[in-house]
């Protein structure tokens, strides 16, 4: 057990000390911040102003909604893209041969495999929770402070999404054996995930076909959970909001996600994610424990 903990610590330490690994993992969240600062914030603000044109609503509520959208997007991408980058350690160890130096010790293979998953989870959680803290400070500064209950929901969402990112990346990164593979997957994930999880543009603004495809991806529900918990508390503060308008707003913000025309409830979102995580971990452990090739 002690050995196992040291192995996890080693993985985490190598990740945070490896500037290449660590900084590439921050690229996607940084791109998102730049996009918000330059034009996404304005676009979202304009769309809120037009949606609320018949309803009296304070300037500060709109600011809060825009910030809520920023922080939910940011957390949705970080949890997954940081997990992928940090789990590149598994592939790197194989490419540099460091894994051979670990394999000559009496540690069981299954522990080594599990250590990569757990280290990725912990490293990503450290980054994501730090990001969440910065996000909460930011929204406070911008004039809206989340209640303790809402904050706990956000933390819980971050944990679930980080687990999702860690387990999915474990399976995919397990098959990377070359530097080319690592950069390829790294680039695809960091460029693509922000898009398909709806961090740059709401999923509701995509074509119907694309929306249908995305409704099959569990990551979509992760985004939606964060949207709900970041935006619902703010929407609740708006008085005299007709329910048809509220539904329209929630649809537009991806708080409502449809699976073949049915709105998915929060509970089902959690359930989908948790089942996905469990399945991914099982697949990873099965594949990696079987996969040692000494032939």
């Amino acid at each position: 057990m002690k050995t196992f903990i040291y192995l996890i610590k080693r993985n985490i330490k190598v990740y945070f000390n490896d500037k290449g690994l660590f900084f590439t993992s921050l690229i996607t969240p940084l791109i998102l911040l730049v996009l918000y600062a330059t034009f996404l914030a304005n676009i979202f603000e304009d769309s809120f102003v037009s949606i609320f044109k018949d309803i009296s609503i304070s300037e500060s509520t709109i600011t809060a909604l825009v910030s809520g959208q920023l922080i939910s997007s940011l957390l949705a991408v970080s949890c997954v893209t940081v997990a992928f980058s940090s789990n590149m350690l598994m592939a790197n160890d194989r490419i540099t041969g460091a894994i051979n130096d670990i394999n000559v010790t009496p540690v069981k293979r299954s522990y080594i495999n599990l250590s990569y998953f757990l280290a990725t989870f912990i490293s990503t959680l450290i980054v994501s929770i730090s990001a969440l803290v910065l996000c909460l400070i930011y929204t406070s500064v911008r004039g809206y402070t989340y209640s303790l209950g809402d904050t706990l929901y956000l933390i819980w969402d971050v944990i679930i999404l980080t687990l999702f990112g860690s387990s999915l990346s474990s399976i995919i990164n397990y098959f990377l054996k070359t530097q080319g593979g690592v950069s390829g997957v790294g680039t695809i994930v960091s460029a693509g995930y922000g898009f398909i999880c709806g961090a740059y543009m709401p999923i509701s603004s995509f074509s119907k076909t694309l929306q249908k495809i995305l409704s099959f991806l569990p990551g979509t529900y992760g985004t939606s959970l964060l949207r709900n918990h970041a935006l619902n508390p703010i929407l609740k503060t708006i008085k005299y909001l007709p329910s048809s308008v509220l539904k329209e707003i929630k649809d537009g913000l991806d708080c409502n996600i449809y699976f073949f025309d049915n709105i998915i409830s929060i509970k089902v979102m959690y359930l989908t994610l948790i089942i996905t995580i469990i399945i991914c971990i099982l697949i990873y452990l099965f594949v990696s424990n079987k996969g040692r090739n000494r032939k």
Binding site: L7, D18, G97, V104
Partner: protein
């Protein structure tokens, strides 16, 4: 239990490449065993098979009488290995590297600190313990590599080209450490190298070519078998040399005669005292052994 490593007829291919071909040899306890061969001879592959990183296609390996397939843990605790390329975590400090590797053998806390202190003294790590591995010089990194291989007090130390690429001074200091360890701890050292003079100090040598043993024995045996001894005679006239009735080569101020065994020289000297006024007898060197055994030119010469 005198044989710590026993390899019987192992064969290993990577796809079409036959890396190890029906290889057999034994390593005895406490000896310095050298494994010679040019690049691609199959040295590293053999090491990977011994440490259980690869399984052979055919054949059998016993380490201290145990089989890696059934007693993997036990064997791994008995072997410390320095791979050809340093495999430490480059971004971690020397101390952290040793700490995390030691933990993989279950060595933590006070037990680790004690071992670290000892190794740190032997390998002079005090000054570099907080340096990241990627800032170390080649020689410093090699010292840390060997310290890491010894972190769990193994009985067998396997070194895959430990001194390749190091300057002569650094090579000497590394050898001093290894020789000291052998004396003090009765450590068995399994070495691959292509510096022939390093093999000269070994107890037993196996010469490998294309995955197969082409010569083995103590350095003396190998020299007697493969390397011609020679005598150089100075300040004599060519007509005197002709009297010896041997093939000779003229060199700057004398003549060189190659002989198959030193006893021939002894006979010559006894018979022709008058010719042998100023001469030297030179034993064949490991370089010559390697050349005549393999038929290759040495790369770094």
């Amino acid at each position: 239990m005198n044989e710590v490593i026993k390899i019987n007829n192992i064969t290993k291919s990577y796809g079409n490449v036959l890396a190890v071909n029906d290889l057999s040899f034994k390593v005895k306890k406490g000896e310095l065993f050298s494994f010679l061969g040019i690049n691609g001879a199959g040295k590293s592959t053999t090491i990977k098979i011994i440490v259980g990183e690869l399984f052979p296609d055919h054949g059998e390996i016993k380490v201290c009488g145990k089989d890696i397939r059934t007693d993997e843990d036990e064997i791994k605790r008995k072997i410390g290995v320095v791979f050809q390329d340093s495999l430490l975590d480059k971004t971690l400090s020397v101390y952290d590297n040793l700490k995390y590797r030691a933990a993989l053998y279950g060595i933590t806390g006070e037990e680790f600190k004690e071992r670290y202190k000892r190794l740190s003294k032997i390998f002079s790590l005090e000054d570099i313990c907080n340096r990241k591995v990627n800032t170390l010089s080649g020689g410093q990194r090699r010292r840390v590599d060997i310290a890491r291989a010894l972190i769990h007090n193994p009985e067998i130390l396997i070194l895959d080209e430990p001194t390749t690429g190091l300057d002569p001074g650094t090579r000497n200091s590394i050898w001093k450490i290894i020789n000291n360890l052998r004396k003090k701890e009765n450590l068995t050292v399994f070495l691959t190298t292509h510096y022939m003079e390093e093999a000269d100090d070994s107890d037993y040598i196996v010469i490998l070519d294309k995955g197969h043993v082409i010569g083995e024995g103590s350095p003396l045996e190998l020299k007697n078998k493969y390397a011609k001894d020679m005598v150089i005679i100075y300040n004599v006239k060519e007509e005197d040399i002709k009297k010896l009735k041997m093939t000779y080569h003229k060199i700057r101020n004398g003549f060189k005669i190659e002989v198959n065994s030193i006893s021939i020289v002894t006979d010559l000297i006894v018979k022709h005292k008058d010719i042998f006024k100023d001469y030297e007898v030179i034993k064949g060197r490991m370089d010559d052994v390697f050349l005549s055994a393999t038929g290759y030119e040495l790369e770094e010469k």
